[in-house]
């Protein structure tokens, strides 16, 4: 409730969507159509299987208004093979992204070696090749971006970051949720909110 007061429903902000689906082809397309139809960008997307057999989870990060995300999540729930769709804001989830940085091996800037920087940033060196090494950092986008800025002076060769994976702070169990969904002969779509 307090959130609603802080932000008008039309101001854009970041949302993380977590979508449980049957493991069927074409779903990615169906999901992205909902965004493109409204000219909304997807900032990151991750698909993975879940602890329940045959059920996949899409994690989608987007920046839009509260009104729009409510509309989008309802459209997503409407897709026949979607089991549930949930919207989260930052404080409701634990999330991580993984970033890989390729840097020249012997670079030193202002007396600091890459190794120093890596150990101070909670990152780690993944591999060391003849001319370059690859650094891995897991964290949120602020943290991975921070390291990016620090590594830039060393002549960053390549940078890549994964989509977000997020786990909600609720104690919901995916399996229990799906069981309840299956059992609901009463056809309450609202269960997709649970």
């Amino acid at each position: 409730m307090s959130l609603e007061l802080k932000y008008p429903t039309s101001t854009p902000r970041e949302f993380t969507l977590s979508v449980l689906t049957e493991d069927k082809s074409g779903l990615l397309n169906q999901l992205t159509i909902i965004f493109t139809k409204r000219k909304i960008n997807i900032n990151s997307l991750n698909v993975s299987n879940t602890e329940v057999k045959g059920v996949s989870r899409f994690t989608i990060v987007t920046e839009t208004s509260k009104d729009m995300i409510d509309n989008i999540v309802k459209q997503i729930r409407k897709l026949i093979d979607v089991l549930g769709a949930f919207v989260y804001e930052e404080h409701q989830i634990f999330y991580q992204e993984i970033a890989l940085y390729k840097v020249p091996k012997y670079a030193i800037v202002d007396g600091n070696s890459i190794e120093d920087l890596v150990s101070k940033s909670g990152a780690r060196i993944l591999v060391v090749e003849t001319d370059y090494m690859i650094i891995e950092k897991t964290g949120n986008s602020r943290e991975t971006h921070d390291l990016y800025q620090k590594l830039e002076p060393f002549g960053l060769l390549e940078f890549i970051r994964s989509g977000r994976v997020a786990i909600s702070k609720s104690t919901r169990k995916t399996e229990a949720y799906i069981k309840e969904l299956e059992a609901s002969n009463s056809n309450k779509l609202s269960i997709k909110d649970f």
Partner: protein, 577 residues
């Protein structure tokens, strides 16, 4: 698989028969109660057409002249029967020709099962002859779609297709079947789909919501019911009348909601939206409780949303949760089928009357009569007006016909002035506004309700978009009564050019062919009326003739449809001239 394991399997599973995929498609359709298919053959669907040859006693296939005709016909049939319409098309151009109708069905919640042929599975993705990604193209405009590449998937896909198309908020589904799957043999057995765990089509109205709504209704001084197509889709016509009569609340209908309540019902106050009636529009911004039933607050109904019903508490009865709070924020939302919601509300609402409030509508009606309607219905000189033609037809048919309208001025006029008496009788392309819809949709309506008079009202522009379906009407002997209101213009666009683009008639004038000669060329009776004194006789002859017949009425060229809520204006700013 060796024969001994097969024998064991047969013992434990349901009885199966070994048939081809193409036969299975037809057997599935028969099992779903399908009687008629509209379609057009081609390479990728030939195995199914070959099978159809042997099923002519069980399945009536109507060969249209264009796939768009097939899909609109299936829509027309679905709209008058309430059951999924079925159409067939081949891959590539056949499939893409269906898309307009599928999009139309999606936005107007019409159940359809469209079956398309596809190139053999080993050629998928090779840009083979007549290969199109119909899955990708149809995805945004279907409720569900599925590609079958193995014959074994056919019963599953078709069972799901009918279940999804027909239940909840209805809509179109598409099944794309590769040619090899049509040829392949498999052990066929059919079970109807009764449940999909991720799909819950019938949410139940919650007692708390019903009570909250009833409280608002019981306390309201100026309550107002807006009736959408959901009332007819859920078969809630009687419940709605009982509800309105008990509470004494006036009702107006959206374009898609027309014919859900008889036009003559004392509590029916008229038609909503851009070219709707005066009172129903302005009173939206004066009521205190707005009860929207099975409608989606389309912009053609609401005008400027920021100035729409802001003073009112809004109760929204709607089966599709994604429509709730989408355009208009609700005070109470009842997420269920219209019939279930009304049955739930009936015992909770008080008996009431709202005489003064309803009188306000009647006063508006009088203003509209004085300023618009009387001159439209009873002109004593000048060229024939669209409205008087519709009014005469309404009188002669006693409001009992199914009226299928195309898109444009004639559509608005027909739906303003036809006095519907029966449900599922106003068939029009509402959400998409598809010119060319009416002629083929009327064919489907006639097949679906052969005993009823089916009249289709079409403009001279839209007629030429699907005019080739006259061939289907002749070949299949569909007794559709076709009315062409010929103003030699793309009239609706011309009206906007006159009102909002300083009369710059940019490409809206039509140099039309001789519709009489064309229609007769197709072997269909045709007559043309240019003078008012010949109108009555012509209408009589047209309606009483055997079989299909066309009546062309030459109407006022630059007539305008009023009232009008200009786009972007508020419903309160409706113009009477």
């Amino acid at each position: 698989m060796n024969t001994s394991t097969l024998a064991v399997e047969k013992k434990i599973t349901k009885k199966t028969t070994r048939i081809k995929g193409s036969d299975a498609v037809l057997q599935c359709l028969i099992a779903e109660g399908v009687t008629t298919i509209f379609g057009y053959p081609g390479g990728a669907i030939m195995p199914i057409y070959d099978a159809l040859y042997h099923y002519q006693d069980k399945l009536n296939h109507i060969l249209t002249r264009h796939e768009q005709g097939a899909v609109h016909a299936a829509q027309g049939m679905a709209r008058v029967t309430g059951k999924a319409g079925v159409c067939f098309a081949t891959s590539g151009p056949g499939a893409t020709n269906l898309i307009t109708g599928i999009a139309d069905a999606q936005i107007d919640s019409t159940p359809l099962v469209c079956i398309t042929g596809q190139v053999p599975s080993h050629l998928l993705g090779t840009d083979a002859f007549q290969e199109t990604d119909v899955m990708g193209i149809s995805m945004p405009v279907t409720k569900w779609n599925y590609q079958v590449t193995r014959a074994e998937e056919i019963p599953y896909a078709i069972a799901r297709a009918f279940y999804i198309a027909n239940t909840g908020r209805p809509g179109p589904v598409l099944i794309d079947i590769t040619k090899d799957a049509q040829f392949a043999e498999f052990d066929f057995t059919y079970d109807k789909c009764e449940k999909i765990r991720s799909y819950h089509p019938y949410p139940e109205a919650l007692p708390l919501d019903l009570e909250a709504a009833a409280n608002l209704i019981n306390e309201a001084k100026k309550p107002y019911i807006l009736v959408g197509q959901g009332v007819q889709l859920s078969g809630a016509e009687n419940e709605l009348i009982r509800f309105a009569e008990k509470t004494g609340i006036p009702m107006a209908a959206t374009l898609m909601g027309l014919s859900g309540i008889p036009t003559s019902h004392p509590l029916y106050v008229g038609y909503l939206g851009m070219h709707g009636n005066y009172g129903p529009n302005i009173k939206t911004n004066e009521c205190d409780v707005l009860i929207a039933i099975g409608m989606r607050f389309d912009d053609r109904v609401t005008g400027d949303l920021d100035r729409y019903a802001k003073q009112a508490k809004v109760i929204h009865i709607e089966i599709d949760p994604s429509e709730i709070d989408k355009n208009v924020k609700t005070t109470v939302a009842i997420n269920s089928d219209a019939k279930q919601a009304l049955l739930g509300l009936l015992p909770l609402v008080n008996v009431s009357t709202h005489k003064d409030w309803i009188d306000e509508f009647h006063q508006c009606d009088k203003i509209e009569h004085d300023k618009v309607i009387d001159a439209e219905l009873y002109p004593d000189s000048g060229e024939i007006k669209m409205a008087e033609v519709i009014n005469r037809i309404s009188e002669v048919t006693n409001g009992d016909a199914i009226v299928v309208t195309d898109v444009g001025q004639h559509q608005m006029v027909a739906n303003r002035y036809y006095k519907f008496r029966k449900s599922l009788s106003c068939i029009t392309s509402g959400g998409l506004g598809t010119m060319g819809f009416a002629l083929p949709a009327a064919m489907g309506a006639k097949v679906g309700q052969p005993e009823r008079t089916v009249i289709t009202v079409i403009g001279d522009g839209g007629f030429q978009m699907t005019i080739q379906e006259l061939g289907t009407i002749r070949q299949s002997d569909l007794a559709v009564k076709i009315l062409i209101l010929n103003n030699n213009f793309l009239g609706m666009v011309r009206q906007w050019q006159q009102l909002f683009f300083e009369k710059r008639y940019s490409f809206t004038e039509l140099d039309n062919p001789d519709f009489q000669m064309i229609t007769r060329g197709y072997g269909i009776k045709a007559q043309k009326v240019e003078k008012r004194e010949n109108l009555d006789q012509a209408i009589h002859d047209w309606l009483h003739s055997e079989g299909p017949a066309l009546l062309e009425v030459v109407v006022e060229q630059e007539g305008n449809v009023f009232p009008m809520v200009p786009s972007g204006a508020s419903v309160a700013e409706i113009r009477l001239d």
